[in-house]
Amino acid sequence: MEPKNFNEELKKAESEAKLGRVGNEDGTMKLDDTQRVKVLSPGRLVIKRFVRNKLAIVGASILAFMFIFCFLGPLFYPYHQTQKFYKTDILQNASYASARERTTYSAHKLAGGDDVHRSVVNMVNSHITNNMEPNQLTQLFVFDDGGANRYLLQYEADSVYSLYDTDLLRVGQFSLYLLIGEYDSFLRQLVLADGVTLGEAFTAAAEAAIQDKLTEFEYDGVSYTVENAGAKKYHIKQYADHPLLYDIEPIGAAFEAAAKGAIESKTFRYEGDTYTVSDATPGTYRIDRVTIGNRRYIYSPYTINLLDDTKTLSTAFLREALVALVGDETFEFEGETYTIGEEDGEINLYRGEAPYGIFTTFSVSRSNGSGALPIAFKNDLKAKVNEMIDRNVTSDTLLTQLELQNSDGSIARDEDGKIIYVDTEVSITRKGNEFEVRCDRLEYLIDIYGRPMSTLTSDTHLIGTDGDGYDVLSRIMYGGRVSLMVGFIVVIIEIILGVIMGGISGYFGGWVDTLIMRLVDIFYCIPTMPVLIIIGALFDAVQMESMTRLMWMMVVLGFLGWAGVARMVRGQILSLREQEFMVATEVGGLRVSRRIFRHLIPNVMPQLIVNATAGLGSVILTESVLSFLGLGVKHPLASWGSMINSVSDYSSMINYTYIWVPVGLLICLTVIAFNFVGDGLRDAFDPKMKR
């Protein structure tokens, strides 16, 4: 049999009655007309009652607005949630440049320099500053990288040294003295060197001499020297003019004299060749002939101040210039010929005939970005720094010429492309050997905490920007998405879990019911907020990616919240299952699942919907509290709670009200709206409360 719609039946009866009636064609109604009583379906009744409730309508409109704002808003809004904004602003007393007298010898790598061992390259600077006497013409030093390679560091010119490959040829060795033995005054024992055979009498003589604190004594006609070797030990040496023992063809007496005279200086030249004298064993020195190979590195503290401040100094150019400085004073670089000449104590660099730059050890570099500095400024600064050093002051001011900046922070140029300079007062502070130059500059910065509707920047932000330079309004939209999404998903999880558990519990009863209800009791008893805080700390520790974290948070929230739904569903089902229609389903032989999910659950629907709506509000609240504590949604994802958290410290709270007030109001508004709608739905479903 076809199901009958009561409404349709009534209408049919009405029209039939109309046809059979005589008169009354003007459409007026009689008191007993069935049409006078309009019968609405239960659903429409609920809607009608809901619509009549003013607060519910207000709530529903707020929610509609929120959804459009959060989910559709970003589609039409020009900025993205993680789009950083920049601005140019005057940075008070910004660091402009820093200057110092360079004392470190920086290494400039020449061809083949890659083969030189790193430890050797790094050793050179400290060796020059610590061991080499300044400006001595013939100084060299042999490095050994622990392997077979030896390098020679040679003084080239004022403040310029070069490192060469070398080959050493052993010429021979000579001894100054023989070490006879070592006397340990603590053990009172004399140990003679290997191969020395002197009798007991010598030992006694030596001990006597040491105890008498003599520096020399004679034994058997030979004179011995006692030297304190430290650590209560004395060396007994026999000085003698031992001849040089050659490994190669003997060179001559003059060479031998030169070699013996070079023990202190360690190097000497003889007939155009360079020789080194080095310790072999105590008292014995070996002589090597040095064959200088290729130059691998050039060391110098020099830099070049270019007169044309549009050019920047490249490392390759500086290297070529330094090579030329110690060489033939001319070099070619990118097709131009440069020459070096000295004038008034300054080493100048010329391109062709025109002055091009000056070698200097006074280096000035920009604090921010690259680009050359005006030469006039460098000269002014150098003079000022020297004056400061003379007067021994640590801070001073200087009126100099710096580049004029356009309003966007770039450097202003005239029609010819020349940089325009203006008088600027800068402050100089000394920190050790560094001199820092500061002045007010326009800088290109991240637009942090930009004021709402600020006109300072090219982009206007309706609610300003936050601490990361993100647009607040766009963060609010995306944050709203997250908050609403969290609310819905959590409530859906709660309802699914709650309906299943409550349904099973209520329908089957017995021990299943008892078991599930005790589980519900346990979940009721678990303190939600503390547990959420602990789990938030756990997520922090695992350093979860922010999207995964969000998912897990929703699962946890849902898992902790199903107990209420389950209890409500069980209660409803307990009363429903005793009703006649359930007896009918049993008689009809329906499956259990069908009985529960087709006949019982739909009857619980009204309460479920009311519960869910109110639940949505509370989940959004919980999420915002968690995010506010920094334990919920994490950067770069936005959520309403985390947005407030980012400005929750005392000073931000005072200064950035334009961030947290709108966000807080939105949270309130959304939750209120959900509560209004929830109340409205409850009243609509259950009109008993109306008077």
Partner: protein
């Protein structure tokens, strides 16, 4: 009645056991526990000879964390039953000492808010019900809903902004005036603390007022629909007497029930509000314990809260039977 109470109490014990077990498992599985943090700190101290791993092993043994979670729980439970909750790792005093130190601040803060809530919410709820669908009713309903709908941190921040920053009447955080700390004694100290309790108490009142107001309104409406009210009106009593005597007394039945049920909650502290205002109550202490992975204090606090929750339900069930003779036990 006695049988009912005993049965319920037994049930509570079982529930409590499982709740504590679940929470203990959770605490033990925190990957970055207090022990690890401490071990890392100890390992970088000057003069230290052990590696972080060695420190972890040593500290785990010291704190009894080398046992399996089940063993650990049994150990914890057997000493907890005796009232020994161990030493707090974060606060480095005995858990019970810390609890005694902080609980009364929380209690008084809660009590002040509770009294204020009752004084404001119940009259407003009755008035709203009396004039249902009037402007007053809508206003009261909306205010109540707004109170429920505001996140605690937002209320706290707004109050701080208005009363502490703009008006400068109160300190934004802290429990006593910082520059006077330690100099005040007796009554003046009490006044100082009370002054600092104003904003937190206001926050709690605003947050709590809504639900009580709605509850009162709903119940009063129900009572006003009852036949005996019609009878009272019919016999010519003044509206004042109808509402104030016949209706109100019956309204009180469910209200007393839930108020009784929320009495244990006065001890549970306000986690967020206390933390935001730096009120050194139980909520504040436990927040930092939880964040710091301090197992003894957290376990103590959570079992305390769970007991209070169970106690609340029990009290309200019993009160329901006591206040309303129509309700039979079972």
């Amino acid at each position: 009645m006695l049988k009912f109470i005993v049965k319920r109490l037994l049930l509570c014990v079982i529930i409590l056991f499982f709740v504590m077990f679940a929470i203990y498992l959770l605490m033990r599985n925190l990957p970055s526990s207090y022990v690890e943090t401490t071990a890392r700190e100890l390992a970088v101290r000057p003069g230290n000879t052990k590696s972080a791993q060695q420190w972890i092993a040593e500290l785990n043994a010291q704190y009894g964390l080398d046992r399996s979670p089940i063993e650990g729980f049994v150990t914890w439970l057997s000493s907890a039953v005796k009232g020994e909750f161990g030493d707090s790792w974060y606060w480095t005093v005995k858990v019970t000492d810390k609890f005694n130190e902080v609980i009364w601040y929380s209690f008084f803060l809660g009590l002040i808010a509770f009294i204020l809530e009752i004084m404001i919410a119940i009259p407003l709820g009755v008035i709203a019900a009396k004039k249902q669908y009037s402007i007053t009713d809508y206003t009261v309903t909306v205010i109540g809903l707004v109170g429920i709908s505001m996140p605690s941190f937002f209320v706290a921040t707004v109050l701080k902004m208005v009363f502490a920053v703009k008006l400068g009447w109160f300190d934004p955080i802290g429990m006593e005036t910082a520059r006077l700390a330690g100099t005040l004694s007796g009554f003046r100290w009490l006044l100082d603390v009370a002054w600092h309790f104003v904003l937190p108490a206001m926050t709690l009142t605003i947050l709590g007022i809504g639900s009580l107001m709605r509850y009162t309104r709903t119940n009063t409406l129900e009572v006003l629909n009852a036949d005996y009210i019609r009878t009272a009106r019919a016999k010519g009593l003044s509206e004042r007497r109808v509402i104030g005597y016949h209706a109100f007394r019956n309204t009180l039945i469910p209200i007393v029930t839930i108020l009784g049920g929320s009495l244990p909650g006065l001890f549970s502290g306000a986690l967020i509000t206390e933390t935001l205002f730096s009120i050194r109550g139980i909520g504040y202490a436990s927040y930092y314990s939880m964040i710091g992975g301090d197992i003894p204090f957290t376990m103590f606090y959570l079992s305390f809260i769970s007991i209070l929750t169970l106690l609340g339900t029990l009290i309200s069930d019993i009160l329901y039977a006591v206040v309303d003779p129509r309700v039979r036990v079972n």
